[in-house]
């Protein structure tokens, strides 16, 4: 259970560092953000929702059945798009209108 940060996309704005509930993200020497303790990630995806540059992706550890797919989000007004990219680069998108309650 953890995240991967793309050092090419990260601009080092630090917004993700402010929201990680475990204080796990820090500034690397080249000013981009890195996850210091990947095994300590809870999987809350707070950092992913905060990142406007799609630099952070979330994945399931192999020990809990992960198969290499990556999850990230993109925001459009009240819509939150959740995007799953498979290892073969195929994508699935689920869009949630945050003005609507859950059905269950």
């Amino acid at each position: 259970m953890s995240i991967r940060i793309d050092g090419q996309k990260c601009i080092g704005c630090g917004r993700c560092r402010q929201v990680c509930p475990g204080n796990l993200l820090c500034e690397a020497e080249n000013k981009v953000t890195e996850i210091r303790y990947p095994k300590d990630c809870w999987g809350c995806t707070s950092c992913i929702k905060e990142c406007e540059y799609n630099a952070i992706h979330y994945f399931l550890g192999a020990d809990i059945g992960g198969k290499g797919s990556m999850l990230h989000t993109s925001r459009e007004g009240s819509l939150l798009h959740w995007i799953v990219t498979s290892p073969d680069h195929s994508r699935k998108v689920i869009t949630i209108d945050q003005r609507q309650a859950n059905a269950y």
Partner: protein
């Protein structure tokens, strides 16, 4: 590296900016009664239990129900051992705090008449993904609230047997905080990471309760000599296998039954009390009828898509798992398992022993939310309600009080203690080593997953001795930076909670809540002798046990 002192003064200090803490702060600011400081070890925008969001509001008085019926439900579910006064005062406020949260921007589903749509008899439907950002925005609007993000509090400041503030340190600068206040409200949440988790490897933090809730509030109270209650009523959640995502969305929301490996609905045999839904699953596995599932295969595509959305709003791992497997809950049933045990007063009765106003047994200190005991099934709205009650009591308390300052000697002694960990000593073990040893001990000898949640007197003695040894070893830990210093204090706090927990497990000589408290030496419930609270207090390093009677609904309990 050495820390340097920074002194701050406020009227009310709130430790922990989660659900209860933020709500307490907003309450005080709205009443216009003085300055508030929230000290939060992460950032309040996403800290605490609600970082990923929450699926529904599970404590609400729906039409046709009353606070009295809510009290009856909690009492029945907890086998009679609750503080009626605490549960009832929460129940009376549930709907008002929900309305207040809606005014802050929470989306709640309504019908054509504008009434909230209920899910079952106590729940309402929401979009709770952004609960914490909404609370953080509401806090930011209040001029009288100062938020100290990334500051970890470690101990209360005590003077003349009163709490007059707390010590802590920054995670960003080499600062040792001495924060003095007329009153302190503890809202740090409960404790995860005491036992070896379901996924001990790479995904060790893929747990139900926040792995960053390390029992700091309990530990600070224990060290200060506050009375604690009902630690033996551990909470063990029934969760989706591997992802440890909640099951209520499927079982209560969708109405899916629990079935064993031959498709038998075993819930009917045992009943649906919270502990029993877990216990029955453990029994099925013991008798070779596992794995167990929530029966979802065959649900409609529409239902599947709604489940995908619901889980993204609180536990995204589960939706990711379904999508990357190429098989969703419509194709196959959802496997379930029990988690490692947690200590969490929002679900069970563990925490500070408080009076009806939420004052702890130490003057000047109040508690609310998961850290406060005696009132199970608080959930999110109950934590709001309790935050509000504690805030109002603290406002009343500080009316004629002045800030007191600790002696310079007391401050320097505490600073030396913290700086000692930052010294250049050669340490054999790391905080992580100690934590793993603690989790293994608790798992094997204090009723963890490996032992089917069952313990006995002999095993508890082994656990007791090993935790004592680990507490000694932890004195030699060293930190190279502030994050490592945080890890040291987290493992110290967990060890204190384990120490007290073991004494509580030992003290209750019956089995009141299957799996939560499964005492192999005393396998039956004994109402005649044990319908009493098991409380404790640390005195000169020893855990002293105290038995206390039930409190009636309309009593105003005072210490």
């Amino acid at each position: 590296m050495r820390l340097a002192v920074n002194r701050l003064k406020t009227d009310i200090l709130i430790i922990g900016g989660g659900t209860a803490g933020c709500f307490a702060a907003i309450t005080i600011a709205e009443q216009g009664n003085g300055k508030v400081v929230i000290a939060e070890k992460a950032g309040i925008r996403r800290s605490g239990c609600l970082a990923a969001g929450v699926n529904a509001l599970n404590a609400y008085i729906v039409p046709g129900r009353t606070p009295e019926t809510y009290l009856d439900y909690v009492k029945n579910d907890s086998e009679g051992l609750i503080r009626d006064d605490l549960v009832f005062t929460i129940a009376q406020r549930l709907n008002a705090v929900t309305k207040k949260m809606e005014n802050m921007g929470l989306v709640i589903q309504k019908n054509a008449k504008g009434e909230y749509v209920s899910r079952g008899t106590r729940n309402i439907k929401i979009n709770g993904e952004n609960m914490k950002p909404l609370l953080a925005d509401a806090v930011a609007k209040q001029e009288n609230i100062t938020v100290l993000n990334r500051v970890n509090m470690i101990d209360y400041i005590i003077k003349d047997a009163k709490v007059i503030g707390a010590y802590g340190f920054s995670l960003d600068t080499n600062t040792f905080y001495v924060i003095t206040a007329k009153a302190v409200i503890c809202t740090t949440g409960g404790a995860a990471g005491l036992y070896r988790p379901n996924n001990p490897g790479f995904s060790r933090h893929k747990m139900w309760y926040s792995p960053f809730n390390t029992g700091a509030g309990y530990a600070m109270g224990i060290r200060a000599g506050a009375e604690m209650t009902t630690f033996e009523m551990r909470f063990i959640a029934l969760r989706c296998k591997d992802t440890i995502a909640p099951t209520g969305t499927i079982s209560q929301g969708l109405g899916a039954p629990q079935v064993n490996n031959v498709g038998e609905n075993y819930e009917r045999q045992y009943g649906t009390k919270t502990a029993i839904r877990l216990y029955s699953t453990i029994l099925q596995n013991k008798t070779g009828k596992g794995p167990c599932y929530l029966q979802t295969a065959g649900i409609t595509d529409e239902q599947v898509n709604e489940l995908y959305r619901a889980y993204l709003n609180m536990a995204p791992a589960q939706t990711l798992r379904w999508l990357e497997n190429g098989k969703g809950p419509g194709n196959e049933d959802v496997e379930i398992e029990g988690t490692e045990p947690y200590i969490v007063g929002g679900h069970t009765g563990s925490g500070y022993w408080v009076d009806t106003s939420r004052a702890t047994t130490i003057e000047g200190l109040y508690a609310a939310g998961d850290v406060a005991g005696g009132s199970p099934q608080k959930y999110v709205t109950g934590c709001f309600a309790e935050g509000e009650i504690a805030a109002l009591a603290a406002i009343e308390y500080i009316r004629d009080k002045k800030c007191q300052l600790p002696s310079e000697q007391a401050v320097q002694e505490k600073l030396i203690e913290v700086n000692y960990f930052l010294g250049d000593k050669a340490a054999l073990y790391t905080a992580e080593d100690i934590e793993e040893a603690m989790q293994k001990t608790m798992d094997d000898y204090a009723g963890g997953i490996a032992s089917g949640y069952t313990f006995n007197e002999k095993k508890l003695q082994v656990a007791k001795n090993r935790i004592k040894e680990l507490m000694e070893l932890s004195k030699q830990l060293t930190a190279q930076d502030l994050h490592q210093l945080l890890h040291i204090y987290e493992v110290l706090d967990r060890l204190y909670v384990c120490k007290v927990l073991i004494h509580h497990l030992e003290a209750r000589k019956e089995t009141r809540w299957h799996s939560f408290q499964e005492n192999a030496d005393y396998p039956d419930k004994d109402d005649e002798n044990w319908l009493v609270f098991v409380n404790s207090r640390l005195e000169n390093g020893e855990v002293k046990m105290i038995l206390r009677d039930l409190v009636k609904r309309d009593d105003h309990y005072e210490h």
